[in-house]
């Protein structure tokens, strides 16, 4: 075998209270696409931050092209030709594509010449099939385009080892295929590509070799052709993954809990987002909401949670009208809300777990004791959350911004379902979560269903919706296009829901069996 381009040996990085990397090994060869696989919190990002000189490791050494190197700062990594596309892009929004690229490239002289810069970028992007307009400002671009800018940026910096942190998290399936085509082209030109992911499908389809991390340790590495999805799953999670979804009782509840009648509401821009939407959710069922993002899902969830005023229509809870509740009243009446933006809307990053855990009930006993906060009770409650849902943390008195996405979501959902609410609104509850956390969240939702709560589950993942929901409603431009009961999941159901999501009403959907899924 050829000489490795990169060897990391025994890398250890400690943070206060956590060992993020514990003697991790990683070897990379030129011309390969290598997947770094692991659950959230397995230490993938920390390892990459060590490799790019952002974190200084506490132990271990790194060899690049056979030479020992000391990555003291990002500069030393860049100088060696190690480049990274971060999960949160490091682009400068008010600047143009060309300016962002040439900001870093030594290829340009002190004076900027827009025409030359644009020409260079055009050549490079045509070469590798990375379509992007060099004159566009970053904030005008889609996420997929921004990612292409990041890749072009690396190429112009002369990167030989390119790291991509969860590159597909923000891409559509089509964009994902395009991205890996480009990456393969670059690998064929002798560059090494390392991508971080927790999606098995991508690893099996696109990677040549795989390194698996678990709990901060590198547990195994292998060629893709020598392994299977099941083996990888077990390595990642460290145990056999059980199929989470229990058999569902088919007995349908007829107890109406929440009813929306002709609800109309505006989005933040003051444009109608919900146009006469009607829904009924029964106790003990999960109603899935399918739809392409931006068709009123956010507004629907906020209307129910009392965070958005309706401009028309009525809402009933257990038969009583509750239109335009305040958020406080909606909590009191037993409506739980797991928002899509879990850190912005659900939790307060700089508060600790205890404070976050009591945000929902801080003004009712026993947390509120005659106007004074009962911290003891709050701590006790937080500890019970941690125990019930196995929430990993660096201490319940530490700010929650230090926690990983999965653990944040567990804390959030634990808080929301505390007190057995009648209605649970969960918007994209497992978005960006790893297998383990997803499992827990789904289990919690099913438990709530068994308890008799009415659950509204919004998701972009049809597989998830079909697995959990009793019925799936498809949303299109703020209206319900049709509601499909889920008994047996068939290929035909995907097509039906897919065409509903594209705006074909249920009547016409039966006639037109177009490939709705592919376009959705």
């Amino acid at each position: 075998m050829t000489q490795p381009i990169l060897e990391m040996r025994g890398i250890t990085k400690r943070f206060p209270g956590v060992v993020a990397n514990d003697h991790v090994d990683l070897t990379l060869y030129p011309g390969e696409i290598h997947a770094l696989l692991g659950e959230n919190g397995a230490g993938k990002s920390t390892l990459m931050n060590v490799l790019t000189g952002i974190y200084a490791p506490n132990e271990g050494h790194i060899r690049f092209k056979g030479q020992p190197v000391d990555l003291k700062s990002p500069k030393s990594a860049v100088d060696l030709g190690i480049g990274m596309v971060h999960q949160h892009f490091k682009l400068i929004e008010p600047l143009t594509v060309a300016e962002n690229v040439f900001l870093y490239s030594g290829r340009c002289k002190a004076m900027l010449n827009t025409r030359d810069m644009n020409q260079c970028i055009k050549e490079c992007s045509e070469n590798l099939n990375l379509k992007v307009d060099p004159n566009a400002k970053i904030w005008q671009l889609s996420v997929g385009e921004q990612q292409r800018v990041e890749i072009i940026k690396l190429l112009f910096c002369g990167a030989e080892l390119m790291i991509l942190d969860e590159p597909t998290a923000v891409l559509t399936p089509q964009e994902t295929v395009e991205l890996f085509k480009t990456l393969r082209k670059m690998a064929d030109q002798g560059k090494s590509v390392l991508f971080i992911t927790h999606k098995l499908y991508e690893v099996m389809t696109f990677a040549d070799r795989i390194t698996v991390l678990r709990n901060g340790r590198s547990v195994d590495h292998m060629l893709t052709k020598d392994t299977t999805r099941q083996k990888l799953t077990n390595l990642m999670v460290g145990r056999d993954v059980l199929k989470v979804v229990p058999e569902r009782d088919t007995a349908k509840s007829t107890r109406e809990v929440l009813r929306l009648e002709n609800i109309c509401a505006m989005c933040d821009k003051g444009v109608p987002a919900l146009n006469g939407l009607s829904l009924t959710i029964y106790g003990g069922e999960i109603l899935g909401i399918a739809g392409v993002a931006g068709n009123g899902q956010r507004e629907l969830s906020e209307v129910i949670a009392g965070l958005r005023r309706v401009t028309g229509g009525k809402m009933f809870l257990n038969g009583k009208e509750v239109t335009n509740l305040s958020s406080r009243d909606s909590i009191k009446k037993g409506i739980a809300f797991v928002p899509e933006d879990r850190m912005g809307m659900g939790l307060v990053a700089n508060l600790d777990m205890v404070d976050n855990a009591m945000l929902r009930d801080y003004d009712v006993p026993p947390i509120n004791r005659k106007g004074i906060l009962n911290k003891k009770e709050a701590i006790r409650r937080t500890e019970s959350f941690v125990k019930a849902h196995d929430i990993k943390n660096a201490g319940i008195k530490k700010p929650v911004r230090l926690m990983s996405g999965g653990n944040l979501q567990k804390l959030l959902i634990a808080r929301e379902i505390h007190g057995n609410p009648d209605v649970v609104v969960a918007a994209y509850p497992v978005h960006g979560l790893d297998i383990g956390a997803t499992e827990t969240i789904h289990k919690v939702l099913m438990e709530q269903r068994a308890r008799g709560a009415a659950i509204l589950l919004i998701s972009e993942d049809l597989e998830e919706l079909f697995e959990l929901s009793d019925r799936v409603a498809a949303l299109y431009e703020g209206e319900v296009m049709g509601i499909i009961p889920i008994e047996k999941v068939t290929e035909e159901m995907y097509t039906r829901v897919g065409s509903l999501m594209l705006g074909d009403r249920e009547e016409s959907a039966a006639k037109e069996q177009t490939g709705g899924m592919a376009e959705a």
């Binding site: 974190y55 490091k90 682009l91 929004e93 600047l95 300016e99």
Partner: protein, 310 residues
């Protein structure tokens, strides 16, 4: 006509010190470091320039000393806000107090010293003969002429050069530059120090060019006006020039109106208030919440950068 020419010429003179301070602050804020201490830096520049000029008799030396004093202040400010990561708002306010105090202390013996020549208005041969524009623009002092060069220079630097591009990026997303191996801390030091040198010149304008002499708090709040103009200008040196001229114009008109109508019956205090009121109004009109497309300014302004922060 002559009246208009003289008003415009005077306007430029009044706009100059505010413009110096605005330009310096634009450079600093583009780097992501907010410095509300402009008033203090200007006072330090004013007193340093005056003392040096009086003691050495050399205006060139006075300008040099002013800039050095500004750079020293900038260095201290950079240590505080970039390295020690103190809160920039509080540090800026502290700088005002320090500047006022220091300048008052060192300037005290010079309060009564008069007779310094200062920068005189110089007519530029040829250019000053242009009808109307000539006497408006080219019968000014050297410190005004320096601005004729400095404004386009900073503009071209910011928008047409690679270091300028880096500077614009620095205030938006220092993490991006750091990840690409650039020296965020070094660049911030550089631009804070450079910016403060220019701000200090704005102060020296009062003691060396406007009416040579020293008195306590001679800058009379112009540093605050400059800080406001930076926002008005959307961190663009060309727009800052426009803003400074509006401010200067209102100030001159106020003074001229007092001369024209001595018995108008409005206390002079109210007339002196005009430029400040005008600044607030312009600020509301240009950046108020009802404006749809207002620019928010450098995204990382006022936030310190810490690489290992999680």
């Amino acid at each position: 006509m002559d009246w208009i020419v003289s008003v415009v010429a005077a306007t430029i003179g009044y706009a100059a010190p505010v413009l110096y301070a605005s330009l310096g602050e634009i450079i600093s804020e583009r780097a992501g470091v907010l410095n509300l201490g402009l008033e203090g830096v200007m006072l330090i520049g004013a007193v340093t320039g005056y003392i040096t000029a009086v003691e050495s008799g050399s205006l060139a030396l006075a300008i040099l000393a002013t800039m050095l004093a500004g750079m020293l202040t900038g260095l201290v400010y950079a240590v505080l806000t970039v390295t020690l990561q103190t809160n920039q708002v509080v540090s800026g306010l502290a700088l005002v107090t320090v500047g006022t105090g220091l300048s008052g202390f060192f300037g005290k013996p010079y309060t009564a010293v008069t007779g310094l020549e200062g920068f005189k208005n110089l007519a530029i041969p040829g250019l000053s003969q242009i009808p109307v524009l000539g006497p408006m623009l080219f019968k000014q002092n050297v410190m005004v002429y320096a601005l004729y060069i400095l404004v386009p220079l900073i503009y071209v630097f910011l928008y047409k050069t690679r270091p300028g591009l880096k500077l614009r990026a620095l205030g938006e997303n220092p993490g991006a530059l750091d990840a690409a191996g650039m020296n965020v801390f070094g660049m911030r030091y550089l631009y804070v120090i450079l910016g403060n040198a220019i701000v200090a010149l704005g102060g020296a304008y009062f003691t060396l060019a406007y009416i040579p002499g020293w008195q306590d708090s001679i800058t009379a709040g112009k540093g605050w006006i400059a800080a406001a103009l930076v926002i008005f200008s959307s961190w663009n040196p060309a727009m800052a020039t426009v803003g400074a001229l509006i401010f200067g114009g209102v100030e001159v008109l106020g003074l001229r109106l007092q001369v024209l109508f001595p018995n108008i019956g409005i206390p002079t205090y109210f007339i002196s208030m005009l430029p400040y009121v005008a600044t607030v109004l312009v600020l509301i009109l240009s950046t108020g919440s009802f404006r749809k497309h207002r620019k928010p300014g450098p995204a990382a302004l006022g936030a310190f950068y810490d690489r290992e922060a999680r």
